[in-house]
Symmetry: C2
Subunit: 406 residues, 2 copies
């Protein structure tokens, strides 16, 4: 096997949307278009595995260039996404459909659940002796995939969170109070940590950042808020939706009953955690201040994963390149895997693209390394800033009046 | 009186921040800088009336040009804002400070509460026979000031809301379900209505829009959602934070106990209304669908008023011009008032700037005209789109794959 394999390509998108997931789609399609001698057709599955099972396919080679360019710049899965994780039986049907349709190149864009699905289907092909080159294309705003330096989608979501905190910090400077913002990321704190990326002056918020990697102790949290407020007269706080108490229980789960298709408690799409924390802070601060403090909570929710116009140029470029490289890797020889981004050594930011084994990404997710979080567990470190700043692109400049008194 | 009045200027910012409130500040400062023979100094009050009472002033003529340019592009009140509405006694002290400091030009940037404060101080000057030219500079994301065609600050907030719904609609297309987004605007539905401005295709959401001007009937709301979902298999909904029930009670107020400095119930900074509506929809749809529907709610919160990088160019330009015109009007002759934007007749968008009497703006606010809302009370009309689209600037293009099946 190997060498000049000829056949159709199939691609699907899975999981939560990102601002650049279509860059990867279009990157793959455009690269395949350059290799029509090898890739005889390109099926786009509507809503991922569900679309494959229903044979609901769009002809991606029938798209014109300007449509593809517009789609690339458009957030959220253009093919439609899915959270359905196929059973082994469904994977078998997927594989049979691929064989019947002469699909030889299979691309699946998604997070680690998608890598697992891809891995299952890949095994079916191997067992049946049917050459199917299966490449997983990473995407996740959570940035929680193993092996890759970072995930396409993270930079743009991190940019949204950074800009949101820049604005909210200015809001809080202008009208003082205590502000809590709840950020996505169930197990990985990368997105919550991005709250720090827009800080430009010493006193800029967020003043406190709580990632899910550190046990959330309400007493310590309240003491932190009290200390910051006493010093600064205000406090902006970033909290991950996934913060857990001493028993490892997600605090948000106390208030939220929904469960997603993977059986995970639904943490987003509700303001309950923010409201709970705001209530805690208000009750704690009122006797200290002798009056009701101004405490507000916002939950960024879906805005942070899919906001048109707030996109990291670096992220967009890399997402496109990851899609393009997926096709290049598939065409090169009989192999499967997940495209990974490797950061070049040295002070200037640069990356290369490689292929990791699917099983390396499928089973587990990545948390923030402890060296990205300060000793107190309530802020990020310079190491995190060095890691993440190149990923979000140039942020807006924040002007300040010179404090010459009159 | 009148003619070549010589003395200092004073400016303050009040109320919730906007993305362009500093454009007005810088517009006023730059115009005054051109007239130093008349304006002998420019005091910037820190945190509005509070800063005046404490004589906490920044020297605005000591700022260099590039600082001012950066500040103009930065969201949220650069001088600091305030929600404190001064008592008549405090207004008297404000006036005395003005007289002692030789302040002859007084500019106050804010909403209708600010116009009322300005009006009070203006009367004091008049009664004392001290020539004080007092100009109110409008700003509000709610767009609820009388007389002016629209308010600086609205266009940028409307742009944020429009882009947010563009992204959220794409999210909802990709992963189907029912999505409720709660938008700011206690009494005026202009900002909630802006949810419609990004619709580019017939089936784009939001599919339902509920402004506070129309009584919110939960039964009708649930019937609306059921109908849209049955047809489209998904539903995106825009709801104003200020929706009221049949008794004129704000629905959000059932869940929220906070009160602001003006005695208004605090509606923002909590996810409770969204969570309530999501619960209603989930309970209503579950027996219809035979399974738990995917229902989520987001509350846009403070992001929509202060997000750096999501700014309407039209709004920024007009906000600057309103500040500049405030100074021009003040220099021209002995007069007071609020700068208003007048829309030129004809198909091409254009505006002129005028001065309205303070008392015209001070007492009441503006609601959305009924012709901006459809008969059903669950969407906007073309008249609203014609009114609002020129204010938000060119929105991102949304690309769609051509549905050529394979």
């Amino acid at each position: 096997m190997g060498g000049k394999l000829v056949g159709k390509a199939l691609i699907g998108q899975s999981g939560g949307p990102t601002c650049v997931i279509n860059q990867s789609l279009v990157g793959a399609v455009k690269e395949a278009m350059k290799n029509r001698d090898r890739v005889t057709g390109f099926l786009g599955a509507r809503h991922g595995v569900d679309g494959i099972l229903k044979e609901n396919f769009i002809d991606l080679f029938a798209q014109n260039g300007s449509t593809l360019d517009d789609v690339a710049r458009t957030p959220s899965a253009a093919l439609g996404s899915v959270r359905h994780k196929p059973s082994p039986d469904e994977c078998k049907r997927v594989f049979e459909i691929c064989r019947r349709r002469d699909v030889r190149y299979f691309f699946y864009i998604g997070g680690n659940d998608s890598a697992e699905t891809a891995h299952l289907i890949n095994d079916m092909g191997r067992d049946a002796g049917y050459e199917l080159r299966l490449i997983h294309i990473p995407k996740t705003i959570d940035n929680d995939l193993l092996v890759t330096d970072h995930c396409p989608g993270y930079g743009s979501a991190a940019r949204f969170v950074a800009q949101a905190f820049m604005g909210d910090n200015l809001d809080n400077v202008s009208l003082r109070g205590i502000k809590i913002n709840v950020v996505m990321g169930r197990h990985a704190g990368f997105l919550t940590a991005a709250a720090a990326l827009g800080r430009q002056h010493d006193d800029d918020g967020p003043h406190l950042i709580y990632a899910p990697e550190v046990e959330f102790d309400e007493k310590k949290f309240l003491a932190d808020v009290e200390r910051v407020y006493a010093k600064a007269g205000r406090c902006v706080i970033a909290v991950s939706e996934g913060i857990q108490d001493q028993d490892g229980e997600e605090i948000a789960a106390r208030f939220i009953s929904g469960v997603d298709a993977h059986g995970n408690k639904q943490l987003s799409g509700s303001g309950a955690l923010g409201d709970h924390l705001a209530g805690l802070v208000a009750r704690h601060m009122e006797p200290i201040l002798g009056k009701a403090p101004r405490v507000r909570a916002d939950t960024f929710g879906y805005l942070q994963r899919c906001f048109p116009g707030v996109v990291s140029e670096v992220d967009a470029k890399e997402a496109f390149a990851v899609g393009r490289h997926a096709v290049r890797f598939a065409l090169r020889r009989d192999q499967d895997g997940s495209v990974v981004i490797r950061r070049k050594a040295g002070p200037a930011y640069g990356v290369t693209y490689g292929l990791a084994k699917l099983e390396q990404l499928a089973k587990h997710t990545k948390s923030m390394p402890r060296e990205f979080i300060n000793d107190e567990g309530n802020d990020v470190t310079q190491a995190f800033l060095d890691y993440a700043l190149p990923l979000v692109g140039k942020l807006p400049v924040i002007g300040r009046l010179e404090m010459k008194m009159a």
